[in-house]
C-alpha cells in the first residue's frame, strides 16, 4: 500500500444531501425465483435518481440492466469499510433461508434498516440455526428470548420432528431477531406495522409495496369455461390442496380449468393428489414460468387464486402482478389480504375455504362480467396506491429520520451492564447503586444524538 494523504477526506460536511445519499441494498436478485428480486428491479431505478446505490448480492451474476442504476457487487463477507462508509444499509428480508440467509448474517452484524417482506421468520431462523451446523441450544435460546418459555415447548416439538417450521410460524414468528441491530424497519402491511411497532425495537415505517403497472391487458373472450390460475412460489401455505379439493367437489367441475405455474414445495404429493381426485383433465402443473411470459398466462385466465394461510405477514407481489394484468382474484381473508378493498378481490375465509371457493366459482360462471369489473378495480387500485416514485419518496423521508436516531449499540451496552450485574450475585442497595450509576452515565452519553456521516 502506498503512502496516503488524508487531506481530501477531512472535515466532510455531515448529514444527507451534502454529497448525496449513499446507500447499500442487500437483496436477492433475479434470476433468483423470488418476487423480492423483482421488487428490487422496480424500486432501484427510481431510487437511483436520489441516491448513490450499491447493490450487494450473494451470486456472481445479476441482471445487467441493474448496472445502469447502481453499482452491483457480490458480497464477500468482509467489505465492512464499504458498508461503514455509506449513509444507510437496507436489508431485504423474507422467510426463505435460501434467498435471505446470507442477508440476515450481515444484518445481524452491521446496523441498518430492515425491509421486512414477511414478519413470520420462523422458517428462516430454523433453517439458519438447525440446517447446516445444527445448534439446538441457540435455536431454543432464540425462541425463549423472543417469545418466552411457553414457546420453547412448541419449538421442542419442531426439534423432535413433530411439527413443521411453517406450522409454528404464527406461534414463533421470531421477527425480533431480524431487528437486533436495526435502526429502522420498513414493512408493507398494516398488520406487519402493528406487529413491529409492538416490538418497540426501532422506528417503523409502513409503505405500500411498489409496482409499475404494465400496458392495459387484453382479456380473453368468455367461452363458458372458468380458467383458474395459480402462480408464484408455491409453499404449503398457498392452499393448493384445498383448491384441488374444492375443484374436485364442485358440481360443475367440468367447467373449470386450473393451470399451476411456479416452483412447488411438494411436487410429488401434489401430482399424487391430482391423480387421486381424478383431476388430470382439469388441472395442469406447468412449472416455473419466466416473468416475461406471465402476461400471456394471465391474459388467458379468468380468475387468479392467490390464497395464503397461514400468512407470513407479507404483502403479495403476486397480487400486484395480478392487478397489473387486470385479472380478477381470490385471496384469503387474512393479514394484508384482509385489508384490501373488497371491490378489488374476492375473499376466502380460511375456516370454510372449500365452501367459499364454490361460491366464487358459481358466481363467476353465472356472471362472468363481475370478474371483469373486479379486474379493472384492482388495476385502478394498483395505479393509484403502488407507484414506485411515491414509494421511493416516502422511503427516503423515513430513512432520513431513522438514521438521525442514535444507533442501538449504547442500548446494548446498557443491556450488557444489566446482564453483568444480574449475574454478579450483587444484591440489595449495592446492586441498586451500581446499576443507577451506570444508567446515569449511559443516559448522559446518549442524550446527545450521534452525528451523521463524516
Amino acid at each position: 500500500m502506498p503512502d496516503v494523504s488524508v487531506q481530501s477526506r477531512r472535515f466532510r460536511p455531515e448529514g444527507f444531501g451534502a454529497q448525496g445519499l449513499r446507500l447499500n441494498w442487500f437483496s436477492p436478485l433475479p434470476p433468483a425465483r423470488t418476487a423480492i428480486g423483482h421488487y428490487a428491479l422496480l424500486v432501484l431505478p427510481a431510487l437511483a435518481r436520489h441516491a448513490e446505490v450499491t447493490v450487494w448480492t450473494d451470486r456472481p451474476y445479476w441482471p445487467t440492466e441493474l448496472e445502469g442504476h447502481a453499482t452491483v457487487r457480490q458480497w464477500d463477507g468482509r467489505s465492512w469499510p464499504e458498508l461503514n462508509s455509506a449513509d444507510v444499509t437496507l436489508y431485504h428480508i423474507g422467510n426463505n433461508a435460501r434467498f435471505h440467509g446470507w442477508i440476515l448474517d450481515v444484518a445481524r452484524q452491521h446496523p441498518g434498516v430492515v425491509v421486512l417482506h414477511e414478519t413470520r421468520l420462523h422458517e428462516l431462523f430454523a433453517a439458519q440455526l438447525l440446517d447446516n451446523a445444527p445448534d439446538e441450544t441457540a435455536y431454543l435460546s432464540a425462541v425463549r428470548q423472543c417469545h418466552g418459555m411457553a414457546a420453547v415447548l412448541h419449538a421442542q416439538r419442531f426439534v423432535r420432528g413433530e411439527a413443521t417450521a411453517g406450522e409454528l410460524a404464527d406461534a414463533i414468528p421470531l421477527t425480533e431477531l431480524a431487528l437486533e441491530r436495526a435502526r429502522g424497519v420498513v414493512v408493507h402491511t398494516r398488520t406487519a406495522f402493528r406487529e413491529v411497532a409492538a416490538l418497540d425495537r426501532c422506528s417503523a415505517l409502513q409503505l405500500e409495496l411498489p409496482y409499475t403497472a404494465g400496458p392495459p391487458p387484453a382479456r380473453r373472450e368468455r367461452d363458458g369455461v372458468l380458467r383458474l390460475v395459480v402462480f408464484g412460489y408455491l409453499a404449503a401455505n398457498r392452499r393448493l390442496h384445498s383448491l384441488l379439493e374444492a375443484i374436485a367437489t364442485f358440481p360443475g367441475r367440468q367447467q373449470l380449468r386450473l393451470d399451476i405455474f411456479g416452483e412447488l414445495d411438494d411436487g410429488e404429493p401434489l401430482a399424487d393428489r391430482i391423480r387421486e381426485l381424478d383431476l388430470g383433465d382439469i388441472v395442469q402443473v406447468r412449472g416455473f414460468v419466466p416473468e416475461a411470459d406471465l402476461d400471456d398466462v394471465l391474459g388467458r385466465s379468468d380468475l387468479a387464486v392467490n390464497l395464503r394461510y397461514p400468512t407470513m405477514g407479507e404483502a403479495s407481489h403476486s397480487q400486484l402482478r395480478i392487478w397489473s394484468g387486470g385479472l380478477a382474484s381470490l385471496v384469503t381473508r387474512t393479514g394484508w389480504y384482509a385489508e384490501l378493498p373488497p371491490e378489488t378481490v374476492g375473499f376466502v375465509d380460511p375456516a370454510k375455504e372449500v365452501a367459499d371457493l364454490h361460491d366464487h366459482f358459481r358466481a363467476a360462471l353465472a356472471q362472468p362480467e363481475t370478474l371483469h369489473a373486479m379486474g379493472e378495480a384492482g388495476r385502478r387500485h394498483l395505479e393509484t396506491r403502488h407507484d414506485p416514485e411515491i414509494y421511493v419518496r416516502d422511503l427516503l423521508a423515513g430513512l432520513d429520520l431513522m438514521t438521525k436516531t442514535p444507533g442501538s449499540i449504547l442500548g446494548e451496552a446498557g443491556a450488557s451492564v444489566a446482564g453483568i450485574v444480574a449475574a454478579s450475585g450483587i444484591r440489595g442497595s449495592a446492586r441498586a447503586a451500581l446499576v443507577r450509576r451506570a444508567a446515569e452515565e449511559l443516559c448522559r452519553w446518549t442524550a446527545v444524538p450521534a452525528s451523521g456521516k463524516g
Binding site: M1, P2, D3, V4, S5, V6, Q7, R9, R10, F11, R12, R78, W80, P81, L83, N84, S85, V106, Q109, H110, P111, R181, P406, G407, S408, I409, L410, A413, V417, R437, A438, E441, L442, R444, W445, T446, A447, V448, P449, A450, S451, G454
Partner: protein, 350 residues
Amino acid sequence: MRLLIATAQVPFVRGGAEMLADGLQEALTAAGHEAEIVKLPFKWYPPERLLEQVLAARLFDLTESSGTAIDRVIGLRFPAYLLPHPNKVLWLLHQYRTAYDLWGTELCELMHAPNGEEVRDAIRAADKAFIPEASARYTISTNVATRLKAFCGIDAEALYHPPPAAALLRSAPAEDFLFLPSRFNRTKRQLLIVEALALCREPVRVCFSGLADDAAYARETRDRIDGLALTGRVDWLDSISDEAKIDLYARCLGVIFAPIDEDYGYVTLEAMLARKPVITCSDSGGPLEFVRGGETGLVVEPTAGALAAAMDRLWQDRVTAARWGEAGRERYDRLDISWERVVATLTRDA
C-alpha cells in the same frame, strides 16, 4: 493545588503522550503543586472495548482522595479525558482519530469492523456529551482544536509546550544529510521520502532514526530503498540515544518531516531549536503551525516530485538553508513556548 493528570496508556508502550504527561507532572511539581498521573489502561480492539472503556472512565470518582479534595483534573487522552470531575480542565492531545478525521481513510481500522459505524457514532456522542463538562478546554495544537471544532462544534484554545529535550538541543555546522527522527509507520511517510530521494537531482542523503512500530511498513520501505539502489544514500539507524539524536540534529543540513496530519510534531520544534530548516507537506497538520514556507523551511505538496525539489533546493543553497534555520529558532523563541506558561494556563481559575 492537588492535581491529577488523567491519561490513557497502552500497557508496555511508551511514546510522546507518556513523555508529555511526565513533562507536565514535572512542571506542575516544579511550580509547587502536588501532581500525580492517573493512567487508564487502553485497548482499542475489538471496537466494543472502546465503549466499555468510556463507560468505565465515567464511573470513577476523583473528587477526593482519602478525605482530601482533588482540586483539579487535567484530561489529556481519550478516554481518560472523559473522567468526571467538577473542576476539570482539558488539554487534549487528540481525540480518537479513527472516529473522526481518519474515518474513511486507509488508516482507519475501525472501518473494517462490522459495527465500526456504531462505535464511531458512540465515541462522537461521548465526546459531544462529556467534553463540554470541562471548565476550560485547551489542545496541544491549533490542528487538534480545529478538528474538535469541525467535528464536535466545541471551541478550544491551542496551548503549545516544549519538546522533551528542548534545553539540550544545539546547532553545529551543516553536514551532507537531511535528518528524520521518527517512529517508522505509515502516518510518517518515510516511504514517500525514499521515493522522493530517487527523484533528486543532487546526491542528497537522508538519515532515518526511530523504531518501527509497523514492521511491514519498515520492510516495505527497506525493500524500496534496495529496489531504487539508494542504499548508499540512506542511513537507517533504528533506535538511538537522546545524545545521538541531539548530535544528528546539530549536524544535519535540515530536517525533513512529512507526516500525515500530525497532531503537533516534536520533530518540527526540535529542528527549530537546533536552528535547522524544515521541509514539510501541505497536509502534515501540526508542523504547518510552525514552518513558514520560504522563511523557516519549505511547505510542499505531498508528492515525491515536490519533496525531491525541496530536498534539492536545500542541498544546493546552504546559505539560505542556514538562514531559514536561524529564522526558525527566532520564531520558536517568539512563540513563548514553555512549561511555565503551560502550568500557569492549566492551573488558572476557570
